[in-house]
């Protein structure tokens, strides 16, 4: 059995849920199965776009980020649903829990995909069996299809899971590269975006195979350090480990929203800024974190986008503080043209347990009032171990974040 495992090196799975939002919708309402289904944000509003769609809809040409009206035109029988984030959250948590039954070495990447390292799982069978069992279990218990890539590293596992959908299972070993990976067009490569693909195509690197054999110096000239990294990946080299802690390294938390219509109306703008600051506050609170850099994004009617940020000498996590800085930045940088979208992001975010707050001579009294409480907590903590009280962070059922939604979920399966 163990000859399935390499003597040196690792065995890594990439699990990718197929059309996750649409599949969850179908699992809750089996009547939708086999029908073209799209999940769209705010379908009734002007900016409603397709977030994801079922394979049946995709066959008709419906694509993610496509405006709803356009999708409807391509596929008149399209069923459109609102996203239901609570359901996705639950399904995702269940799925990740199944992964923990296999190994603790799990790195969630987003709500519907993650890596696991099964090198030390020989007792559970060979990799194919483990993958097959996992896929069956997710399908049987959650009614959700997924594709699994099996490879010696993360990059190849990711590429492999993408090769067969839905319910695919693909093994991609280094010796398979010449015929499985290299013929693929360059833009199919994970890590190669539109811009990078254009640059590579310009020097006649049109397939992953051509990248694998490209000249390092030339790559470095057009893509910098990333060029060499991509070439290595194309040759099946990727030393990144499956890191369960990677999820915790959030550096920024933000929220953005499109206005119902392009506007210069300051009342509307102010209202949106309030809402965004509130969203950011809520997310910071959920992560027990604070940040010390505030960035705003303004997207104008003509899609011209600017971001402006300010670094602060202290950490903030309250709506009022976030809003104050965001407003200042906005007033300073808005050119008075109609705005399409606004965003607020708090950057340089740290978990509060690692932050020390320097008290201020003019305001410390407020903090000092809580001192007695902290003392009691401290004493009890010493007696009973880790802080037996946790600050009440209002958990709210309507708590439906929007943009960084996917990342917000990554820790949920642990709870």
């Amino acid at each position: 059995m163990s000859n399935w495992y390499p003597k040196k090196g690792r065995v890594i799975f990439h699990i990718d849920m197929n059309c996750f939002y649409a599949s969850v919708g179908m699992a809750y309402n089996p009547k939708l199965k086999g029908k073209p289904l799209a999940i769209a944000g705010n379908p009734e509003e002007r900016k409603g776009i397709v977030v994801t769609s079922s394979y049946e809809a995709r066959e008709k040409g419906v694509k993610t980020t496509m405006p709803v009206w356009q999708a409807r035109k391509l596929c008149p029988s399209l069923i459109i649903m609102h996203p239901n984030f609570d359901r996705y959250r639950t399904a995702s948590a269940e799925m990740f829990k199944m992964l923990t039954d296999i190994t603790p070495i799990i790195q969630p990447v987003s709500i519907d995909e993650g890596y696991i390292d099964i090198t030390e799982c020989k007792h559970l069978g060979n990799p194919i069996e483990i993958a097959q069992n996992l896929q069956n279990r997710i399908l049987k218990e959650l009614d959700l299809p997924c594709s699994i890539g099996i490879a010696p590293n993360k990059f190849l596992a990711k590429m492999a899971s993408d090769m067969k959908k839905p319910l695919g299972m693909t093994v991609l070993r280094k010796r398979d590269l010449p015929y499985k990976l290299w013929p693929l067009p360059i833009e199919k490569m994970y890590g190669v975006g539109k811009k990078t693909a254009e640059k590579l195509q310009a020097i006649d690197i049109t397939t992953i195979g051509k990248l694998a054999h490209a000249n390092v110096y030339q790559l470095r000239q057009i893509l910098g350090i990333n060029g060499e990294r991509l070439k290595n990946r194309a040759n099946g080299i990727d030393h990144r480990i499956v890191d369960p802690e990677a999820v915790n390294e959030f550096k920024s938390i933000g929220s953005s929203q499109t206005l119902p219509e392009d506007t210069t109306n300051e009342a509307d703008i102010r209202q949106l800024l309030h809402l965004l600051a509130e969203n950011v506050e809520r997310r910071l609170k959920r992560k027990q974190a604070a940040g010390r850099n505030v960035q705003i994004m303004i997207k104008y009617y003509d899609h011209k986008t600017i971001t402006r940020s300010r670094k602060l000498p202290y950490y903030i996590d309250k709506k009022a503080d976030i809003l104050m800085i965001a407003k200042e930045l906005f007033i300073q940088h808005w050119n008075s043209e109609p705005i399409r979208l606004l965003g607020i992001t708090v950057q340089e975010v740290e978990e509060k347990q690692y932050i020390a707050q320097q008290l201020d001579i003019f305001t410390y009294e407020k903090e000092a009032e809580k001192e007695k409480l902290y003392n009691v907590i401290d004493r009890l903590s010493q007696k009973y171990g880790k802080n037996p009280f946790k600050q009440m962070h209002g958990t709210n059922i309507d708590d439906q974040p929007h943009t960084s939604f996917q990342k917000d979920f990554l820790n949920d399966y642990k709870q």
């Binding site: 000498p313 509060k352 347990q353 690692y354 932050i355 020390a356 707050q357 320097q358 008290l359 201020d360 001579i361 003019f362 410390y364 903090e367 000092a368 809580k370 001192e371 902290y374 003392n375 401290d378």
Partner: protein
């Protein structure tokens, strides 16, 4: 204008005056240095309109001749080139000559520089202060006052008034106070004769830092005059004028706790060295936090902890610890600054709780006070 001057005298004066000259100024001619030759000596002037400095080199002092062959006149020279030229000239004396076309010739030995000057008439007149309202102080004492307080000013422009040092002269007591709102430093000294009183003037920290660099460590007197928007420091050969900051300095005396719960007596250097060591593992981007814990009647533990780096622990014996047990976290940087400013062997540190400001003073001396706000760890 023409004169021959001792180069070392000229270098020293040029260096002092340069402290006031900025390359970025609203008035272009202020990027230059004004040179005035009078029978009795040479005067150099520099200004960025916040600070103005005049340095005077007498033709003769204590029987030594510094300047010869003086033909009166004045010129403004580009400050970008003049100091380097003077510094690198080959001989001990320098001849400077300006003709009626504002062409300046600088000669030393066989080296000769021709520079374009500007008309001194175009250089703004420095405001002359009334010197009636003034008091005197020993120069080295003034330097001490600056040194013990100015480090605590704020470097942030969010509260501009805190970028200055608050000066108070009341009942023949002169007091300097500086705070960035996270720590506060103050120093008080008696003044012999003062015919003025002022309660709340604020001198930009930058001005005091420059003044500190220029002044010699001497017990010779320095005269200080104050108007409602300027302060003048004057010694025999130096005239240092600074703008004052607008606005009201926050009332700080009520912020200083007058009772304490834990009092620690400790050797200044021991504590300073211990905290310095512990701070090696305290990270700057996390407020340089170190923690102080009282262990028993004699011992204090200093620790620092960075999750990714490691941990430092050191015990230090105190002369004595009075009052309640205490565990408090604070910025090692603020503590080191404060301890360095106290030039006494023994310090007394008074705490009133882990979330309240604490005070560091020399034992039996209330004229120096350093106050630090602790850090709250979550």
């Amino acid at each position: 204008m023409k004169f021959i001057i001792q180069r070392d005298k000229l270098i020293a004066s040029v260096q002092d005056v340069m402290k006031a000259i900025s390359t970025r100024t609203a008035i272009p001619i202020l990027t230059g240095m004004k040179i005035e030759a009078k029978d009795h000596g040479i005067k150099l002037t520099g200004s960025d309109s916040d600070i103005s400095i005049e340095s005077y080199i007498p033709a003769e002092s204590d029987g030594m001749v510094h300047v010869e062959e003086i033909e009166e006149g004045s010129i403004v020279l580009q400050a970008r080139y003049f100091p380097d030229i003077v510094r690198k000239l080959p001989e001990k004396t320098v001849e400077i000559e300006a003709d009626s076309n504002l062409k300046v010739t600088i000669r030393s030995g066989k080296a000769e520089f021709n520079l374009n000057g500007q008309d001194a008439e175009e250089y703004p007149q420095l405001p002359k202060l009334q010197t009636d309202d003034s008091f005197e102080l020993q120069t080295d004492l003034l330097k001490n006052l600056i040194k013990q307080t100015v480090f605590a000013i704020s470097t942030m422009e969010t509260r501009p008034i805190l970028t200055g040092v608050n000066l108070k002269l009341e009942g023949k007591q002169l007091k300097f106070t500086a705070t960035d709102s996270h720590r506060l430093a103050s120093r008080e000294i008696p003044v012999k004769e003062a015919n003025i009183e002022f309660s709340s003037i604020v001198v930009p920290g930058k001005s005091l830092n420059e003044l500190y660099k220029i002044l010699d460590d001497t017990d010779e007197p320095i005269e200080i005059s104050v108007t409602n928007n300027q302060i003048l420091f004057r010694t025999k050969h130096l005239y240092f004028l600074s703008r004052l900051l607008d606005g009201t300095y926050p009332e700080t005396s009520r912020l200083i706790p007058d009772q304490s719960k834990t009092v620690l007596y400790v050797n200044t250097k021991d504590l300073l060295n211990t905290i310095d060591r512990a701070s090696l593992l305290a990270k700057e981007d996390r407020n340089n936090v170190v923690r102080l814990t009282t262990k028993d009647g004699q011992t204090v533990e200093i620790t620092s902890n960075s999750p990714e780096v490691g941990r430092a622990t050191e015990e230090i014996s105190a002369k004595s610890i009075e009052g309640e047990e205490l565990k408090i976290s604070f910025s090692s940087k603020y503590m080191l600054d404060a301890l360095k400013a106290i030039e006494y062997d023994e310090v007394k540190i008074e705490f009133t709780g882990a979330m309240r400001p604490f005070i560091i003073r020399p034992v039996n001396n209330d004229s120096i006070l350093q106050l630090i706000l602790p850090v709250r760890t979550y």
